[in-house]
Every structure is written in C-alpha cells, then in structure tokens.
Subunit: 158 residues, 2 copies
DNA sequence: TTGTTAAATAATAACGATTATCATTAACAG
DNA sequence: CTGTTAATGATAATCGTTATTATTTAACAA
C-alpha cells in the first residue's frame, strides 16, 4: 500500500505535481477499493469519511489527473456515469470486464488475451495499438445457475 | 435501402410497434450515414433537414427503441455523448473500432476476431457471452505517416 | 361516418453528471 | 517575512438525457 502510494507520488513529482493531502486521501480510497468500479461520486463519499473537508470538484480534478498519469483508467459501462479503475500493478494493458446483463455484476480478467488480435490489427489494418477496451456482456456463473434452478422448479410444477 | 427499412418495419411490427413517419425518417438518416457514428443530436439535426417538425425527444425515444430491438448499438467513445451505430446487415456480433488518439478518426473492423477469446472466457470463467465491445486506441495509418514526415523534416533542419 | 381508445409525438421542464469560475488557502522560493 | 504560483472548496453554469404533459394520430368498433 505505502509502496504504491510512494510510486504514485514519484509519478506526480516527475510531472511537477504535488501529492497533496486531498490527493493522497483519494488515492488511498482507490487502493482500498481496488476490486470495485467507483464513480466520482462514490469516491467523493468515501474520501469524505476520512477527510470531510474535501470538495467534490477536487475529487474530479484528482481523478482527471490520475487518468492523465495512467494511474487509473476511466471507463464507461453504459449507465450514465464514468467509473475509475486503478491499473493493476505492473500491468502492461488495461484489463477486461465481464458485465452480467442479469444482475449487473462486473468481473475482471487480468490475462491479456488480445495479443494475437492486436498483431492482426497492426499488420492488417496498419493501426498502432496503444491501449484497448474490451467488455463482454452476458450471463455470469451465478445467474446461469439461478436460471437452471428456476427452470427445473418450473418443471416440477407441471 | 428499401429492403432494410422493410426488414426493420417487420421487426417493429413483431413487437407491435409502428413505423411512424418520424421513426422512418430517423432510420433513413441512420442508413444514409452508416459509416458515421452519430450522436442523438447529430441524428436530430439530420432528420430535421427532411422533417423539420420532429422533436428531439422523439429522436431519443426512437434511438432507444432501435437499441432495444438491436437494430442499432449504443456506443460510447469517452467523449461525453452516446453514439448510435447501425448493426451491419446479417452480422452476428457488434463490430470493433479503432480510435486514433491523434486525429480522433474512427475505423471499423467487421471481422469477428474474438471467437477464440470468447471460447476461453466461456470455458475458463464460466461466463456466457452474449455481446461484446472492443475498441482499440492508438495511431492510425495517416497519423503514423505524418509522424514519420515530421521527424524527417526535423532531421533536415539540423 | 363517428366516437373511443391507446400509442406516439412536440414542446419544454427537470434532472444529474461534469466542468467552469472565483475567492481563499497552502506551499514554497527568494 | 513576502511575493508567487498551485491547489482547493463552494457553487454556478453547462449540457446530454429523461420526464412530464397536452396534443395529435392511428386503429378500430359501433
Ligand atoms: Mn476493472
Ligand atoms: Mn461502428
Ligand atoms: Zn449475474
Ligand atoms: Zn489519426
């Protein structure tokens, strides 16, 4: 934890930004909720618990800054809000997501999986890939089981 | 063109929706600008040229309806607006996009490319894939050439 | 035709996420 | 200390989208 904050601090300093208390509080919230996909508002409310004096605008500004520095990735799952996702430590590329269209759960895939596809895109389309966004929409494991249970219950009724 | 409108008309009727003049005008605009990625506002302005009496809310409602029917896909490139993309005729899956981070151009890939990846996701994550969104961010062919030209010009100056 | 109903529409108000503005404060070099 | 610049907090403004409501249209039965 401290190690990662130290790293981010250096990234900020390298572009002559400071790690202010507000920025640090924001980063800590992101680190403590790494598995979630928080909106700016979500982050704001969590930061407020520790540093009640912080303003919403500062959270937005900090998230924007962290996005520029590629500490976080800004992502959009199609509900009306942007969400901020900490880059995995040492990850080359942004990770992928599995969004369940039944329950709304979001699972992560850290494996790259796209190496071959990117090669094809580079060679066949002459496009120099820098980053990617890949999201699958479908039915998660849990909802699949529920569907099976529901349909067998349906069978029994007959 | 007429053929595709006829098809969409049947899709609407199958869910007991009507192809009203406003809806038809909207669909025509989408068909005539199939290569673009229009926002709701863009569609509204183009429809207005032909049917000036149409309201913005109706365009939004129509686009929402067409999205439900999977005639169009709603997509978000990270600028603040949703864009609407007609499904390619007979396409199994939504197509992919190459977004240039230099000039903002958007290129399309109709080839699936994800068959293998989806198999892995299904088998390894137990996730039943229904749809996907894949966007690559990088440098398009044109901007790559410009970079080469610029750097060689730089060389000559020395 | 005429009246009855529900669906669809246009105009516009409301909403909500994000951004801009601006006065105040903190950090810091000289 | 003093001046300078970056950062912040409060809040107004913006802008894409959604909700509301009165009106129009289409379908259809009497
Ligand atoms: Mn994630
Ligand atoms: Mn497209
Ligand atoms: Zn689920
Ligand atoms: Zn380009």
């Amino acid at each position: 934890m401290e190690h990662r904050i130290e790293k981010i601090k250096k990234q900020l300093h390298s572009q002559s930004y400071k790690l202010t208390p507000q920025r640090e509080a924001t980063v800590r919230v992101l680190l403590e909720n790494e598995e979630d996909h928080l909106s700016a508002e979500d982050v704001y409310l969590l930061v407020k618990e520790k540093a009640p004096e912080i303003g919403l605008a500062t959270v937005y500004r900090t998230l924007e800054l962290l996005t520029e520095l590629k500490v976080v990735d800004k992502i959009n799952f199609g509900d009306g809000v942007s969400r901020y996702d900490l880059r995995k430590e040492g990850a080359e590329h942004f990770h992928h997501h599995l969004v369940c269209i039944e329950c709304g759960s979001v699972e992560e895939i850290e494996e790259d999986l796209l190496l071959d596809v990117e090669k094809i895109v580079e060679s066949q389309w002459g496009f120099e890939v820098k980053d990617h966004r890949l999201t699958f929409h479908g039915i998660c494991r849990v909802c699949q089981k529920q569907a099976v249970t529901a349909s067998s219950a349906e069978e029994n009724k007959k």
